[in-house]
Symmetry: C2
Subunit: 339 residues, 2 copies
């Protein structure tokens, strides 16, 4: 089968398209013929070697949707042709709070979704929501799951609350925005791009500030005089200290990433005097994956697609993520050709 | 009346005993004749000027117990001679999560407990637990309240869990230790003093390490192979980063202080990849104060008293806290004499 192969760590030129064997199928596994896949920032980290557990050569990609092409002996409830999305969280286990020691994410160290076929455990495929195209379905899994857990399970967001999402534009951030808007909260965003702020407002954000302008915190204060009830942060760095200022007393800051890591000086007294909960989260449980799909289905929300590339354009595709110019998900579609 | 008066910021010599008017009584207030009072680290911060809202001259002291000496017109359910402890959290309000804007702690900016009499709102006095002496009752309020909220409300501690209390010896830490032991958890402590570790073990701690020794984290790992379920920290600083290493995946770190603040480099990925909740807390609500008293009553626990001084020895008394040599509370007792 055709697949994107990462032979060595390095730049986008390391993505090559090659021929590999179709994966053999375990008893409780299914083979999915990928129709569309999507990029995550994680894929860039892996390509650069900034991720634990990398084994090369590897087929990258955590997000994908497609049709069942074969089922293992133990799988009785799926048939060839069934349309599915893949939950990229492997071996989460039964504890909602935390995954097991065998946990991994599709793409590293197991084979990923930038391929014609992928084998995954039966429990990791879910029916594709009918209102979504293949591109939209492929865009949803990792980001939607992360956002769902961050916003609902960990953030315990409530209608009418003021929610701050710093750094709007990335996949998870746009999922957070969509879900928070659907839940009737007042969402505020930050970005270095006026265009992204306008897009966020068109998606229902109540306001946005350019964090390259001076006094951006002041503007947020005007909109949220008592501060934010919930901040959901993937930036870290200096920004995190500012979030502690913007956060309301007794509020929550959920953190799922730190692109500007490390936080240079975390002033602990702000956390305890303001009685703030700083809540770490990553990925989500199978139950949360199902709830996230149901949420998108119930509210008939479609993931925000930044751009769609053919798989031959994979190097260009990933550049949009690496440069941070994307607003929403970058999707790659099949069928397969030589690069 | 006689009172300890802080006229200027500075060293312990700034504590003077002087004569001031007995406070006038508001309609919903009571006048308490103090029998015993206790020191908190907060009192040292105030004396040095390292605390917000200081107005001088001031009568310091947040902790106290004594007898009702007079009641305001609106107070119908207390009589002169009733034995009470003072809840030092003024104007918490009705929200369990956070106090109101009018919140303050007895001692700054209102008058404190190092005095013959103090006036406090009716709602801030509670019946003295009968099994406690005056010294013990005076030792309990601020530290017991802080510890109760940190361990139970915020930390949601459960029987059988591994609880880590860094820096054992301070008032709140010893309350945490007592309550966590009473709840059937396995408590581990850290200290720079072997003597304090031994005292903690005699109070029911399962083990303790000297953080001046190399590899102290390794020893904790041996006792808690999966890590700590709950850390309750008031140290901050470098130590906080180590706590993130010792914390179990999916665990909680409650923070109520930062004597070694600020945290130099908080590695955010540890918080989100390990899915840790960092939970800020300070003081507690009236309901928590009542629950704390009931807890000490139900389990018939007595606060750990480090030492008892007469009020004339107030300068020596506070030095035990300032030097960090105390294990448990430093109490000062009346009656009044000239210094």
């Amino acid at each position: 089968m055709k697949a994107v192969i990462l032979r060595d760590l390095g730049g986008p030129e390391q993505y090559r398209i090659g021929d590999v064997d179709i994966p053999s199928l375990g008893e409780d596994e299914v083979l999915v013929r990928i129709r569309a896949a999507a990029f995550n920032r994680r894929d860039i980290f892996i390509r650069k070697g900034e991720y634990p557990g990398i084994r090369l050569p590897a087929i990258p990609g955590a997000d994908g949707a497609g049709e069942i092409a074969a089922v293992g002996k133990g799988v009785k409830d799926l048939a060839i042709g069934d349309k599915v999305v893949i939950n990229p969280a492997l071996n989460w286990g039964n504890d909602e709070r935390i995954y097991t020691k065998d946990f991994s994410i599709v793409g590293v160290p197991t084979n990923g979704t930038f391929a014609e076929y992928i084998n995954v455990p039966r429990e990791n495929v879910f029916p594709k929501p009918e209102h979504l195209s293949w591109e939209e379905a492929a865009a949803l899994p990792l980001g939607g799951l992360t956002a769902y857990r961050a916003l609902l399970t960990k953030g315990k967001v409530k209608k009418g609350e003021a929610v701050l999402i710093p750094g709007i534009g990335g996949g998870v951030a746009t999922f957070l925005l969509q879900m928070a808007v659907a839940l009737g909260t007042n969402v505020f965003v930050t970005s270095s791009s006026e265009e992204k702020i306008q897009k966020a407002i068109s998606l229902g954000a109540s306001g946005g500030v350019n964090y390259k302008e001076p006094n951006w915190e002041k503007q947020l204060r005007k909109w949220m005089p008592e501060g934010a009830d919930l901040c959901i942060d993937s930036v870290g760095g200096d920004n995190f200290v500012k979030l502690l200022n913007i956060a309301k007393h007794g509020s929550r800051i959920v953190t799922f990433g730190a692109t500007a890591c490390p936080v240079p000086q975390l002033v602990m007294p702000k956390i305890f005097l303001k009685q703030i909960d700083v809540i770490g989260t990553t990925m989500g449980s199978p139950a949360e994956f199902q709830s996230m799909l149901s949420f998108y289905d119930k509210h008939k929300i479609k993931p925000v697609i930044d751009s769609v590339f053919s798989i031959e354009e994979i190097r260009e595709a990933q550049l949009r993520i690496e440069k941070g110019v994307n607003f929403g998900k970058v999707v790659v579609i099949m069928p397969w050709h030589e690069l």
